[in-house]
Amino acid sequence: MEYWTQLRLKASNYVRRNRKKIIILLILWLVVIAVEYYLRNHQVITLDPPSTTYNPYNTVMSNDQEVPKEYQEPISNLIDQYFNYCNNGEYENAYNLITEECRKKNYPTLEQFQGYVDKVFEGKKKIYNIQSYSTVDNKYIFNIRILDDILANGTNDGYYYYEEKFVLIEENGEFKLSIAEYIGDEDPEISVEDDNLKVEITKKSIDYKTETYTLQLTNKTDNYLVISDNTIANEISLYLNGDERGPLNMEVAFFSLAPHSKRTQELQFTKFYDEKVNSEKLIFNKVRVLKEYDWTKGTTQENLDNAIDIYSFEIPIVISSEK
């Protein structure tokens, strides 16, 4: 009993003597508890952003390929800027983001470009998403999906989209935008001739899906030269690595030259830009040298029977700058 009284006295004396220190310690203790409580309830959790399967810079055509990190932001910014301009009806600003070559080829005037934008955007605010599709020679091809703002309309205006390929061309670290799947033009400077025919390839225009050759042809004879009139199979073809592809443009059905005449002819073929094969040659499989020819009837059996010559004409198109 005496012991506990002494202990109590001792403790109270101790407390009295060290009142200030104890108060400070108590305050410190309370502060620690308060800080701990605050941290527990306001704990900052550092987590990675939510994971998704959407990786716009993973190249679809080559899964192990990705758009270089340093190019991702400039590409994204350029496309975003383009869409902002189009959504806001700032046609001229959007037009100026497009390469001169692409403008010249697809939209020579601002009005034509405006027509294209109005058709795609339908006068509505559109959203978009991008996906790297393939990369060839510093040309980054992106699949662009354009659709209504489905968050704003809840898909009540439908749930569909429009797609096309944009080509982002890197030149000295800067990017230029080519739309409508247009890649570029080349000047092949190829000329082939024989006794009857002279063919010059004056231009090769490349889209993502097609190659279009512009030919200048000269008939050097006193006879008619018939190259294509749909009376014989495979009259014209593009040869690539054992594969032969026919032209897409139908006007080649009336492809003939009168004696000593010239004509310009475009030939368009399916050829994907990121295909691993190169176009090797154009082939006119059945050039008919005829004394008489009526283009409204096409090549008749009589024409063939009396033909001066029927032969195959090849135009090599391997261009030194070609990939």
Binding site: T52, P56, I150, Y159
Partner: protein, 218 residues
């Protein structure tokens, strides 16, 4: 000498009391510090499907705090997260918490279709069954926007009352999302409605690439 001994005893007791207090504090503090990690382990345990276990052995921990929800979401894949968000939205409707459901709507969508909470509430009351169940049919992605197609089953009604609806969700971060939806009405879309000429996007589970990215040139 005796006095000195007494003094030491008292001091020792006081020191012991202080030490016990410190130890108790430290124990409590260390437990709380280690709690998130422990919680994460618990969550992943709960998510793992172990059908062999008996029902009474399973402990499903429902996350309550914002932190717990975020931690739970961080362990989910995107499809499960979207279904969770969609479920949260419908839970608000089920509990008649229209203001909370309304707060989840994408601002422009609200502006377009339900400028006021009252209009939204009226629409929900008029077009959803009194008691329903959800059936997820499909999920597609447009960039970082998800479109869930679900069937709303009228539990008390007939099969004819079933409705199909698209829910659009954009996740800004874990448990931070906005939502919009396809309007359904009693005379609008039913499950038999076809979606002609509508391109739906990639199904999440099948691929991480866009559906039209098929290698059509090879």
């Amino acid at each position: 000498m005796v006095k000195l001994q007494k003094l030491e005893k008292t001091d020792i007791i006081l020191i012991i009391i202080v030490l016990v207090l410190i130890v108790v504090n430290l124990v409590i503090y260390s437990k709380k510090i280690g709690q998130p990690k422990y919680m994460m382990q618990q969550i992943s345990k709960n998510i793992t499907v172990e059908p062999e276990k008996k029902e009474e052995q399973e402990t499903v921990e429902v996350p309550k705090t914002e932190q717990e929800i975020i931690l739970k979401l961080s362990t989910m894949n995107e499809r499960d997260r979207m279904e969770y968000y969609c479920g949260e939205y419908f839970k608000h409707l089920e509990h008649k918490e229209y203001d909370q459901a309304y707060a989840l709507l994408y601002p422009e969508f609200k502006q377009n279709y339900f400028p006021t909470l009252e209009e939204y509430e009226t629409y929900i009351k008029n077009n959803y069954p009194k008691s329903w169940a959800l059936e997820y049919e499909d999920i597609t992605r447009q960039g970082n926007i998800y479109v869930l197609k679900l069937k709303i089953l009228d539990i008390l009604g007939t099969k004819d009352n079933e409705k199909s609806q698209r829910i659009v969700i954009k996740e800004n971060n874990y448990n931070d999302f906005v939502i919009s939806f396809q309007l359904i009405g009693n005379n609008q879309e039913s499950t038999s409605t076809t979606e002609q000429n509508q391109n739906t996007d990639e199904t999440i589970d099948t691929s991480n690439v866009m559906d039209n990215s098929s290698k059509d040139n090879t």
